[in-house]
């Protein structure tokens, strides 16, 4: 598959969140605001990309029998570094994401990509794959969080994580009509189900079209 297709697939057809159901734990828990989505998404992109590159770099010297612990050490170190940086420079984000930052270590996406791709491809391809998958994850996360935030509070806003200033804020639904269910766990599951179902419907329609053309 050429590089561009690979990159595009990570967004819709093989979206790690809604199509592959990977990394669900953090996705559902923190998807309450746009800020959280972007913050977590960027953290995952950084960890995924850098770990892909490092694992690809050492793939020829890593003994196959101990590759899983090796990947784990690399990923855990990167996550901890990212956590310390967030704690120091983006304290608000650290407060809202909380314990889910260290849980990036067990995000199946990262370990999965390391095993499935980075250990078998060169550094440049691994870099692109990391960015592509990471962006797909972030994209899925943003869709979910924006939906929940708008339905639950009526507002969509974003504040700079480093300086805590609000960058934009827009009210899309009047305050009296918000459905606060969407900020609860039940609402998270429900929104996820709707989006996943919609994606599935889109995919089957698309493949039906392909079949008809043939």
């Amino acid at each position: 598959m050429n590089k561009l297709d690979n990159f595009k697939a990570g967004f819709i057809k093989e979206n790690p969140v809604f199509a592959l159901y990977l990394g669900l734990c953090s996705v559902l828990a923190i998807s309450t605001t746009l800020n959280n989505a972007v913050g977590m998404g960027v953290a995952v992109i950084i960890v995924l990309t850098v770990s892909n590159v490092i694992i690809s770099a050492i793939r020829k010297v890593t003994p196959s029998e101990i590759r899983i612990p090796v990947y784990i050490v690399v990923i855990a170190t990167l996550v901890k570094i990212v956590e310390m940086l967030i704690q120091a420079y983006a304290t608000d984000l650290y407060g809202t994401l909380g314990i889910f930052i260290p849980l990036i270590v067990v995000n199946c996406i990262i370990l999965g990509r390391a095993e499935a791709f980075a250990s078998k491809n060169n550094m440049l391809d691994s870099l692109i794959d990391g960015i592509g998958m990471g962006l797909g994850y972030t994209f899925g996360l943003i869709i979910l969080s924006a939906t929940r935030q708008i339905l639950a509070t009526g507002i969509l806003n974003f504040s700079n994580p480093f300086t805590s200033e609000m960058m934009f804020e827009v009210r899309l639904i009047p305050a009296d009509y918000v459905i606060s269910l969407f900020s609860t766990p039940a609402g998270a599951f429900l929104t996820f189900a709707m989006i996943a179902g919609a994606l599935e419907a889109y995919k089957s329609k698309a493949s039906k079209k392909v079949k008809e053309v043939k």
């Binding site: 734990c25 612990p69 855990a76 170190t77 849980l103 039940a186 998270a188 599935e200």
Partner: protein, 191 residues
Amino acid sequence: MAELFTLFITAVLINNIVLTRFLGLCPFMGVSRKTSSALGMGGAVTFVIFGASMFTYALYHLVLNKYGLQYMDLITFILVIASFVQFTEMIIKKYSPALYKSLGVFLPLITTNCAVLYVALDNIKQGFDLIETIVYSLAVPIGFTLVLYLFSAIRERLDLSDVPAPFKGNAIAMVVAAIMALAFGGLAGLV
């Protein structure tokens, strides 16, 4: 004593790890539709969470905290968990090959089960002492097993129903989870 009981009930029902904290979802979605394997999975997870928590608790308080190496917590905890899962795998393989076969690939995947690392980290974050750690690291996986069992029972029926095509499989599972979360939410006033 009362506080320990409250801690237990809260961890199992009110702050259920799957339905309110969203952790441990991978086996939740992927585990088979049979209630018997749900119980087997739940048992394995309980053993891993309890054992791993004991080791990580000891590691943190006896080594990392003492020598100012708290920043090594993530990397050491996950390695302890990975080793403990490996150890559990060997035990299950030896003493119950049937269970080993039915759990299949999900057994090593317990390593990446968010719930395990979460409990290990949470024990430290909440500042629990040893007894509280024991209670919490047993209560959380019991809550997980409970929900997993209920869910697999529902799924047994669900597979025989007429689910709309786009929702078949995981999306409808999420809807079921949403309804279960609502139901469990009603337990909030319990303690």
